[in-house]
Structure formats: structure tokens, C-alpha cells
């Protein structure tokens, strides 16, 4: 069964004078444990579609089911609860909490979003710190580590709650080419290790090639889907 099922998704934004059609009749399905990318030029609707899947926004029309839940019908509080339980986020600017250490940033969702027991928290964080190779940096603050390291911490924070799906909007935009590939490779490894579905948006053609399923967007319409070697279970 598909993890995400989107049917006739439309998203319009009303500006002062005109209506902007950000997405028009978009249909797609995403299977569990897949490594997916939405690609397209600026303004094509990549971020909009990720915001909708991330339950941060609601479509103007259409149906959207994630993990067998009609997310459009969720109110503000339930949307937050759904995000906390099923979704992980990786941001372009890393968005780590500056007053918390690397360890505490990863721990944050386990304490503030889910109520995970201390022992299990420690086990999960230790495992993820090792997986993203940040064990040595655990007690540093975000301003004490590099951009690539920040993004690895962000990946660990996104995965620590064992979400079904991790969304990453332009996760490599602020990284150099080598670090960007390393981050994408890490995300893919995490998908392999934890079976988590990763969806990311990018306009970097080199990065796009890393994705196993590619949805192409143009002017708010889905113009193509490419599958490379199938999705891994």
C-alpha cells in the first residue's frame, strides 16, 4: 500500500491582485522506504508540494492521504501531533536550535514531541550519532560545527522519532558539492538502515541523479516520473 497518495492536488495562493496557481491537478503515489526527489525550476511547486506532504499547509482542492490518514481533515493541533509521530524534517538552513548541543538537538523531538523514556532516548541518540558520524561532536553547539555537520545532525534529529517519512526541502543548497553528495549518501544509507522514506526537493542535477524516483514539476504541474532501479523495500 502506498505511503502517500495524492489525487488532483491543487494549491492556489491569493495575492493582492491575482490568484497564483502553485499546483494544478497533481496526482502521485509514493511507496514506503523509497528515495524520492521532486525536481524542477524555481517556482515549479517543489516547496509547495513538500509543505503539503509535511502537513504544514493544506491544498485548495484534492485528496491527500499519508500513512493511511486523511491529513487534509486534520486541525492545527492534530496536524502537529501527526507531524511529530509520522514525519521528520530536514531544512535547507539546517534550523538547529542554537541553545541546544548536538546531542540535545537530536534529543529534542523525543522529549518535547514524543515522550520517550530516558534509557531508550539515550540508545536511539547514541545509535544515530554513530550513524551520522557525529559522536565526537555531541556536546558541541551548532555554531561550533560546520554546515555539513549541521545537516548530519538535522538528519539524525529527523530520524530519531522513527518516522515513516522524512522531508527535505533543498537539503544541499547551502553545502558545497562534496558535502552535498555526502549528505545525500547519508540520507540514502539511513533509508537503507531504517526503512524510512526520504523525499527531497532540489534543482541540482548532480544531486537529482541520486534519487531513485524522480517527479518532475513545471509551472505547478507534474510533467514526469522517472524510476531508477526501483524502490528498495
Amino acid at each position: 500500500m502506498a505511503l502517500i497518495k495524492a489525487q488532483n492536488i491543487t494549491k492556489d495562493y491569493q495575492t493582492e491582485e491575482v490568484v497564483v496557481h502553485a499546483l494544478q491537478d497533481v496526482d502521485f503515489e509514493i511507496e514506503p522506504a523509497s528515495f524520492v526527489s521532486f525536481v524542477g525550476p524555481s517556482g515549479s511547486g517543489k516547496t509547495t508540494i513538500l509543505n503539503l506532504i509535511g502537513c504544514l499547509d493544506k491544498p485548495s482542492a484534492g485528496n491527500l492521504r499519508i500513512a493511511d490518514t486523511d491529513v487534509i481533515g486534520l486541525d492545527r493541533k492534530n496536524s502537529a501531533a501527526f507531524r511529530g509521530k509520522h514525519l521528520g524534517f530536514i531544512f535547507q538552513d539546517f534550523n538547529l536550535i542554537p541553545v541546544l548541543t548536538v546531542y540535545e538537538n537530536i534529543e529534542y523531538p523525543l522529549i518535547m514531541v514524543q515522550n520517550v523514556a530516558p534509557q531508550e532516548r539515550k540508545e536511539r541518540i547514541t545509535r544515530l550519532l554513530a550513524a551520522v558520524d557525529m559522536t565526537d561532536q555531541a556536546h558541541k553547539y551548532p555554531h561550533q560545527i560546520s554546515g555539513g555537520q549541521k545537516q548530519r545532525v538535522a538528519i539524525a534529529r529527523a530520524l530519531v522519532t522513527n518516522p515513516a517519512l522524512v522531508l527535505a526541502d533543498e537539503p544541499t543548497a547551502n553545502l558545497d558539492s562534496q558535502t552535498a553528495h555526502a549528505v545525500i549518501a547519508l540520507m540514502k544509507k539511513m533509508r537503507d538502515d531504517f526503512g524510512t522514506t526520504f523525499i527531497f526537493s532540489t534543482h541540482d542535477t548532480k544531486i537529482v541523479s541520486e534519487a531513485e524516483v524522480i517527479f518532475r514539476l513545471e509551472d505547478g504541474r507534474l510533467t514526469g516520473k522517472e524510476t531508477k532501479g526501483g524502490t528498495k523495500p
Partner: protein, 412 residues
């Protein structure tokens, strides 16, 4: 909850200068209020003490209607001996009463054989009077600190005006209740400072001499001054005594006695009320300082952390927790400001007492101000600061919790 505090405290430390400025502002406000409360409170207590302990007593009992005509010192409204006996019995049976003193008050003429002037006289039983108003002796600037039969304590104003000295003979002439006039010679045994400043014309003689001058076979008491064991119980004791003497009614069925606390008898009560009012307004100023400074700093905190709010909201932090995060920041600022303010306030009060501030009140010169901070004052001011700090954080906290994560994340 521990983590909410951890994040809040770290965010406060993150903006050190702003946090320091805000906490300092609150601290200064708390110190100012505490010093004001302690100094004015001590001044008020000393002022009330002077008035009650050297003249009025904590409360007084009169025959009904006496206080309304008190300026005339009406002899026809004195208590008959049987009536006084009832009052004395009621007072003796009241455990809260430490002592009481019957007084015969009357107006008369004071003569040094060459000149004559008017005088207000208090016939007292010295033992009872000095127990009830113990500071009366401190008002005797010259002469014996007591009074015996045939002696008079002359107010300093009269003594100076009529050039009367200790040991001089003077004559008191007074009109009796039946309209006849009587006189008696006295020896000046002491010069008495006024409790309330220049103009005091109250002299003291023995109660039996007063009865003799007024040709009373038995002393007819004008008023009974009462001292309580604990001044703070005054309102309750007044009520208690009112209910006790309420049973005593005249032949016409009207109440025979009236009970008044010092507040109802002295205009200085209004000064005490003004001090209370000033303290109240100073507290309002403190509330304004805390409210404005914390609201300002929390609005800034929310504005500066919009993207962070968007991030934590996006990863699933519920609005209630986001709200709590900011309220706890305000709470911490209030607690820190209150604690430091309390400590500095206590230190300043101790320094004031070490330096020793002297002031004059009425005829009392060089009184030492003993500033004291009551635990209740510290608690009240701290609780006010903390509650206001939390209240000031509510609006910014609600604003943060209501932010749409998608808009917050877009914020630059």
C-alpha cells in the same frame, strides 16, 4: 518541564545583555519598593506608636455621644461610677487588654497668681496611665516622671508663656457639672512636651484631685484609654469590646458606651493612610516597570526567534509547549529579578540601619528610624513581580504558539 526550563534559561543566557538589562530594571524596581515600604512602614509604625503610646492609647471607651462633643470636654457626658465599673469589668475580662486607664478630662483656668490662661486637664491614675501610655513619661522634659496628689504636669507652652518653673505654685479653677466654680492650688512637678507638636495645652493632675476640683463625690470618668497586648489585634478587639458594652443600655434603651480605635480619634490616621496610598502607588509603578520591561523583552524574543518557532512547530511541538517555553522565560526573568531585588533590598535596609537615620516627629527630636523588612513584604513584592512577569509574557507567548509553521519558516 525540566527541559522547558533548560531551554528558557539558555535562551535568556543567549541574549545576555538584554536579559541583564531587564533583570536589572526589575531588580531596581524591587529594591526601590522594598526600601520605600520598609522606611515608610517603620516611620508609620513609629508615628502611630508615638501617638498611641504617649497620649491616646490603642483605643478608648466613652459614654455615648462624648466623642461628638469632645472639643467641649462635656462633664455631663462623663460615666457615672457604676457605669465605669461595668466598663472596667468588661476590660478586665478581655484577655487581649494589657491595661486601661480612666481619665477625667475637663477645661479650666490656669493661673500663676499674676496671669491666667485656659488649660485642658487630664485627671489620671498615674500607675494605670503610665502602663497604658508608657511613652507619656518620655514627654516629661523636666521634673519627676510621675505625678502625686497636689501636683500638676504643665504643658511646655503654658510653662513658657506664663514663666512657670518646677516647684512653683499654680491655681486651677474649673466650672463643675452643676455650674458652680471651684479652684485648687497645685505644685508644678513637671513640664510636659506635647505629643502632637506646638499648641498642645493638655496638663495632667491626679484623678482624685480632678474629682475634688470638679466636686465629684466619686470620680466620674470621661474616657477610658486602653492598651492591647498585641496592637495588630486592634480591629478584632474593638469589635469584641463593642459587642461586650453593647448590652449596656440607658433607661431610654439607647447604648451607653462607644468604643473608638485610635484611627477614629487622631487626625494622624489620615497621614498613615496617605503613606499606605503612596506605598500602593509605588507598587503600581513596580508593576508597570515589570510589565513593560518583560513584555518588551518577550516581544523581542518572539520576533527574533520566528524561524526557530517555525522549526519546533514543524517537527511537531504542540502549541501549548511553545507557549509554555516563552511564559517560563518571563517567569525566570521575574524570579531572578525578584530574588536579586530582595537580597539587595535587605542589604540596603541593613545599611540604612547601620548609618542610622534620625528624624523629628512633633516634639520628639532625633528619633532613630529603624527600617525593617517584614517577610510578608518580601513575599508580597516577589509574588507581585512574578505574577506580573508571567502575565507580561502571555501575549508574546500566545503569539508564538499561534504562528503558522509554514509562515514562520519563511521568515527572514
Amino acid at each position: 518541564m525540566r527541559n522547558l526550563f533548560k531551554i528558557a534559561i539558555r535562551n535568556l543566557i543567549r541574549y545576555k545583555r538584554r536579559t541583564l538589562l531587564t533583570a536589572s530594571l526589575i531588580t531596581i524596581g524591587v529594591v526601590f519598593v522594598l526600601v520605600f515600604v520598609s522606611v515608610t512602614g517603620s516611620f508609620k509604625a513609629m508615628m502611630i506608636g508615638q501617638i498611641t503610646d504617649s497620649m491616646l492609647g490603642h483605643l478608648q471607651i466613652h459614654r455615648k455621644g462624648y466623642v461628638a462633643s469632645i472639643d467641649n470636654l462635656p462633664l455631663n457626658l462623663n460615666m457615672k461610677p457604676q457605669a465605669y465599673a461595668k466598663v472596667a469589668a468588661a476590660l478586665s475580662a478581655t484577655p487581649a487588654v494589657e491595661s486601661f486607664s480612666p481619665r477625667i478630662k475637663f477645661g479650666g483656668m490656669f493661673s500663676n497668681f499674676a496671669e491666667t490662661t485656659s488649660i485642658r486637664l487630664n485627671g489620671i491614675n498615674p500607675d494605670q496611665e503610665f502602663r497604658t501610655v508608657p511613652l507619656l513619661t518620655s514627654r516629661i522634659s523636666e521634673g519627676k516622671k510621675t505625678i502625686s496628689r497636689g501636683e500638676i504636669l504643665v504643658p511646655t507652652l503654658l510653662a513658657k508663656g506664663l514663666k512657670v518653673k518646677l516647684g512653683d505654685a499654680v491655681v486651677i479653677v474649673a466650672t463643675n457639672a452643676d455650674g458652680s466654680v471651684n479652684g485648687k492650688q497645685f505644685i508644678v512637678s513637671g513640664i510636659l512636651e506635647s505629643a502632637t507638636g506646638p499648641g498642645g495645652r493638655d496638663g495632667y493632675i491626679h484623678i482624685e484631685d480632678a474629682a475634688e476640683v470638679l466636686r465629684m463625690p466619686d470620680a466620674e470618668v470621661s474616657e477610658v484609654a486602653v492598651r492591647l497586648k498585641d496592637f495588630s489585634h486592634l480591629p478584632a478587639v474593638v469589635k469584641q469590646l463593642e459587642s461586650k458594652v453593647a448590652d449596656e443600655v440607658s433607661k431610654e434603651g439607647r447604648p451607653m458606651f462607644e468604643v473608638h480605635s485610635w484611627e477614629q480619634l487622631s487626625p494622624f490616621y489620615h497621614i498613615a493612610r496617605m503613606i499606605d496610598l503612596m506605598t500602593f502607588f509605588i507598587k503600581i509603578m513596580l508593576i508597570a516597570i515589570v510589565l513593560i520591561s518583560i513584555m518588551n523583552v518577550m516581544i523581542m524574543a518572539v520576533y527574533e526567534r520566528i524561524r526557530e518557532i517555525g522549526t519546533i512547530a514543524a517537527i511537531g511541538t504542540l502549541p501549548g509547549k511553545i507557549r509554555s517555553m516563552f511564559i517560563i522565560e518571563g517567569l525566570c526573568l521575574g524570579v531572578v529579578g525578584a530574588i536579586i531585588g530582595d537580597l539587595i533590598g535587605i542589604a540596603v535596609v541593613m545599611i540604612i540601619n547601620l548609618i542610622g537615620i534620625h528624624f523629628d516627629f512633633a516634639q520628639q527630636k532625633g528619633m532613630l528610624l529603624t527600617a525593617a523588612l517584614q517577610p510578608a513584604d518580601l513575599l508580597t513584592v516577589s509574588v507581585i513581580v512574578i505574577i506580573v512577569a508571567v502575565a507580561a509574557s502571555l501575549q508574546p507567548a500566545f503569539k508564538a504558539s499561534k504562528m503558522e509553521p509554514i509562515e514562520a519558516l519563511r521568515h527572514v
